[in-house]
Symmetry: C2
Subunit: 675 residues, 2 copies
Amino acid sequence: MSSFTPNQADDIAIATIRTLSVDVVGKANSGHPGAPLGLAPVAHVLFSRFLKANPKNSKWFNRDRFVLSNGHACALQYVLLHLLGYQLSLDDLKAFRQLGSKTPGIEVTTGPLGQGFANGVGLAIAQAHLAAVYNKDGFNLINNYTYVFAGDGCLMEGVASEAASLAGHLQLGNLIVIYDDNHISIDGDTAVAFTENVEQRFLAYGWQVLHVNDGDKDLAGISDAIAEARKDSSKPTIIRLRTTIGYGSKAQGTHGVHGSPLKADDIAALKTKFGFPPDQTFLVPQATYDFFAEFGKRGAALEAEWNSLLAAYGQKYPAEHAELTRRIAGKLPENWEKSLPVYKPTDAAQASRKLSEIVLTAIIPELPELLGGSADLTGSNLTKVKNSVDFQPPSTGLGTYAGTYIRYGVREHAMGAIANGLHAYGGIIPFVATFLNFISYASGAVRLSALSGHQVIWVATHDSIGLGEDGPTHQPVETAIALRATPNLAFWRPADGNETSAAYYIALQSKSTPSVLSLSRQNLPNLEGSHFEGAIRGGYVLHEEANEDLTIVSTGSEVSIAVEAAGKLKAEGIKTRVVSLPSWLTFDQQDQQYRLSVLRSGAPILSLEALSTYGWQKYSHEQYGLTGWGASGPYQKVYEKFGITGSNIAAVGRKVVDFYKQKGTPVVSPLVKAI
Amino acid sequence: MSSFTPNQADDIAIATIRTLSVDVVGKANSGHPGAPLGLAPVAHVLFSRFLKANPKNSKWFNRDRFVLSNGHACALQYVLLHLLGYQLSLDDLKAFRQLGSKTPGIEVTTGPLGQGFANGVGLAIAQAHLAAVYNKDGFNLINNYTYVFAGDGCLMEGVASEAASLAGHLQLGNLIVIYDDNHISIDGDTAVAFTENVEQRFLAYGWQVLHVNDGDKDLAGISDAIAEARKDSSKPTIIRLRTTIGYGSKAQGTHGVHGSPLKADDIAALKTKFGFPPDQTFLVPQATYDFFAEFGKRGAALEAEWNSLLAAYGQKYPAEHAELTRRIAGKLPENWEKSLPVYKPTDAAQASRKLSEIVLTAIIPELPELLGGSADLTGSNLTKVKNSVDFQPPSTGLGTYAGTYIRYGVREHAMGAIANGLHAYGGIIPFVATFLNFISYASGAVRLSALSGHQVIWVATHDSIGLGEDGPTHQPVETAIALRATPNLAFWRPADGNETSAAYYIALQSKSTPSVLSLSRQNLPNLEGSHFEGAIRGGYVLHEEANEDLTIVSTGSEVSIAVEAAGKLKAEGIKTRVVSLPSWLTFDQQDQQYRLSVLRSGAPILSLEALSTYGWQKYSHEQYGLTGWGASGPYQKVYEKFGITGSNIAAVGRKVVDFYKQKGTPVVSPLVKAI
């Protein structure tokens, strides 16, 4: 029945994958040999018979995407990349887990469990969306599959459960997950904690569920299952593949082979078992290289064919072609930023979440690469612009795959990880939305976004005690500093309309940096002195005074309170500058001279923010903010309770000025440092 | 068939719950009327017919626990608490969502979706465990049920999926979840994002699944389902209850009634519909008070009966009685701390995760209230002490419910939320474990732990780039500052054995503060000058020098590097103090004089930590640490790459000393502040 007849070359190739994986981990004396040994057959079948990719151009746009969600098995993937002819030499394999080691051909960074699974859902959404937008009769330009390997650990993680439920709803037929059902996790047999019926769960999500009972040896069964999975275009597929962890090791089938190199005698015995000389390391039979050379040829031919198709598409659909290739290249259209709104102080006060909606309304027609969505807070986040269409399976009657607005449901963590996948696919800039406080649910995905350089824009509304009655469970305190301390993440807290435009401008220009736009629920006035050019530098002087007695530095909804305090102080003869510092990351990237002109020496600097004061010591001498949790009540009352009012901040400012006058020594900017 | 015959008093009571909920939200002009209107019948049936509780003593230990996981429906719960006779007056109801409003009789703080569901699993584990430990023939002392209301949002959240899978594995027959299947979430009909088969999913987890098709009116059906759920003691139960959100409102069945007060005319019409005068607010018929007075009588009688049983138990089992009542009172046994290990500098270097294991091994025999566990990293976290028994359903043959070690599986977020439930139950101090980096997966639960004052101890190992080869995906950078900035959370990073003992000591004494113990993978020497008495103050002078040129302040695995640097500097004539600051929270609680003696004026203070430098500006003039992500490689090489070595820190110290000498002005402690 099967179209697949394994031959000796397959056996040798699989043995090579296994022995090489063991050597890679052994040489590093660190790593995970168990999963590579168990997954070698399926990896071999998938890559040699199904996967569409060109090793000479790992960025070919219509390649199949492969995600190793159980990323600790990465020795397997590096070995395959080497054998398939990617830019990864045997010497590179020998540098596994060493400083500076290379990782070409990796679609997404995995390791933290469950992330890759959800990234895969994002990759599959991206394919479905771009296909719906750009494919035409006779031009099936974008039609790749997304394959994901996932282990027990991935399937236990909530982020994967969330993503699986959404993938089922979205009927992502191009998504194929291979579940390494090896019954072992770090704590031993999965019987200790993971006894649910995984097949039934995925049926409940609306997936196609297949299984292969002998993943160690049944190559034809594996091939048939993958072929079957590819046939059903109306459902994502999970193939439960029963494997033996550490297959070939003396300790196979136990957690002893999970995360430590095999012992020397075990490696020798394993090599002998698989017909390899026990005393040689990093041995690749020429037959295996030859075998995989076919993969490279096939991939190069497929890409060449696709390039011709794309060229013909360009003849027939020049506008679509231009847009698609621009998007693939990651270039924004010319002059898009001219659509960003500009405000005068006389313009009406608005919540910055509303200002964000105005920006989105203005730029979405210019930027088709924006694929938005919210974790079930659309009406609060204000992220769905008028007339936009939902990204939905057409059968639901609720939208189409060409739609640009994703209903993520109450699934913040999956949303973050899916957005990473959307960006990794290319041609898409995802924006996602929730309350600022609930980014904490997605922390695992956000940090990978920053680490991997995914341009994901978080629209994070209700960003302080200013949300009022929902109370401390919903009022962020520590969230901002957690995000600011995340390397390569731009946390923006704009104070008004011009700053909101600036935040979007930089977020959209930053191709490998995620941004969090922290936005208010409550109305904010457009400020005298606020300007786009200052805000895009991350910080600027909003209100200047010569020979000041005090500078107040603030962000977002508190800047207008700082301005009010400065006015009161001025009336008392205390000259007070006001600095707005919407993005620390961006400000830190400015030259030292500019930064010292904004936060200058000569007078004390007081920070003001309705969030934790942690971190502000870097930019100020004194800090005013929250030192505990928020409170439930109408927001004005909550602000009063915590003393964040113009009159109290003026009083605090007076105290600060007096203190530094009494101290009598010159006041030096906190930016002046030895190191 | 049903044993339940609803009467007119039930109808009036339900109408009262509905009209009162609407008034509560209306008076606040803020809140969520939809779910209270839909859930009033089930709440009424549950509380009036099943729930075992004494309104006059909301802390009675064997009460049934009720958790409103869809916490936005809290108007419903407050209304019930009032009607049932808890310490919550009509005036208190009128202060809903205002500053200082009261919340008696609430088992756990919910709101962030999915948390309450997982808290409920924790409450159910606690009951099963304490019952297994203390119940005896004829003394069914601990036998309460845990009831959870959950909505669509809760069931979409990964934290609930994780907890549900574990609850099924653990066969928690005392857990009954009522799922408010109202087909509406904030984005509208659940058809837009949540179309999975929830019943099938819970069957896959091993739950008993029941449903009631008309939750709006079928009181007998509701009662029968709850009775049925209580019968099966081998499985948790979920009852899918089909309700109409906002039942009685003109906009019932739409998301328009979810999160905004009803309009005045709608409220009037609703009251008329339910037989209430349309123009009166906060009306409670005397018949309803009378009806619920029975509940109070029943509860008081049940508690009195239980108190007698407990007294008789004390006669027969004095030792168990003493231990149980001590645990219920939240008191630690006398002199338990004498079992904490003490170290000398000549003791062997060990990883602090190993030092933690030594502490646990010493104290677990003294503290039966410790209920530990790990998210599938037991062998790495070193949290399972020898001879401890797993908490498992006896049928698995893997442990018993009396066991004290929980196999959480790879479910960090559920673990955190379950631990909150374990603590909320009483009599238990939970400790949970994962890598420090993966606490980020559980952030949503950790912040509620701190906000609600749950004594949960996180054993967070592999706490820096010192974990080496697993690389930046596993190396925390921003995690420590995120936790330090969380109010009421004690983040401990002990440097050696004595400091590890101190961290456990304070964590165990802090009855309403969660602690995170940040522990190394790599070995750390026991330090000259380290002592318990200093460490329990959160910070102390490890190495003193008179008239110093420099102070280096550090934590954890970097303290010994600071000591090495100080030694090198001394050889060059630069006198360098070393301060160890294992817990900022604890240090901040010391008096100003002590703090200023530790981080004193007179010489610059340099901080050193292999983590983000954010936050350290509060305690130091200059900061050395990570400004980006870590790297993969053997840990010594990674430390070298980032310059965290004795010789480089000595060089940095020299630079700092020169800089402040050139500056020429007196160096003032960063703790000296105006505000």
